[in-house]
Symmetry: C2
Subunit: 117 residues, 2 copies
Amino acid sequence: MEKQPHCECEVIHADVVQAVKQQLLGEETYMSLATLFKLFGDSTRVQILHALEQHELCVCDLAALLGMTKSAISHQLKSLRLARLVKYRRDGQNVYYSLADDHVKKIIDMGCEHISE
Amino acid sequence: MEKQPHCECEVIHADVVQAVKQQLLGEETYMSLATLFKLFGDSTRVQILHALEQHELCVCDLAALLGMTKSAISHQLKSLRLARLVKYRRDGQNVYYSLADDHVKKIIDMGCEHISE
DNA sequence: TCAACAGTTGAATATCTGTTCAACCATTTG
DNA sequence: CAAATGGTTGAACAGATATTCAACTGTTGA
């Protein structure tokens, strides 16, 4: 996660490197992107997201669906919630989760396309 | 990464769970998706990918651009190579890397859209 | 052939991350 | 109010992962 330690080599193509550097986004942007994609980088979480893509579900439903404990699911939902990938509503004892926006679907679809090439 | 340990709770909405289950993809598909997205889930790697989106670059260029050692960059490129996200060509002492297909760009763009909402 | 440099690799280390466990809060129902 | 159930939380542990380091390969040019 650290950056600028040092670079032991010479720049081979100074001009190209300079040009590309102009196009690069800020440090924090790459951090945010990584943080976002990290959430898709776990089979439990993608599965949760893909399930919620089909229908809103409560924690117990998800636990049953994935064969996992409510606790494990709840921990993962918390991460997804903090990243605003899912939203929730409480109805009685149940908390229903659903996707926060459709970027999630688009990203998963794009991933599916890539792996099925 | 493990699955079916047990679920301590009852299924609340058996019908919905059943319906969603039908729509779910295979276990291995979610694994593959997670493996793919995990590669985008590191700021060094997204930065490499985003840089290569602009122009093909050799390892030294990337090292200089990101302020990291050639070794660190090379290790990451290996992961990206194995996942067929980047391709490379050797020219003399230099090895030039570039994006393997345009899903990479689409996925990163989608990510940018999400974080800039 | 040898030196120099680009790049790769494997082992080691420090850090991060996912699940479990136990305790807890929230809501409903008797 | 008490019991039952859905859900959340924090600490702890095990497994994964990114960078470093040192050794190595491959290519060029003297």
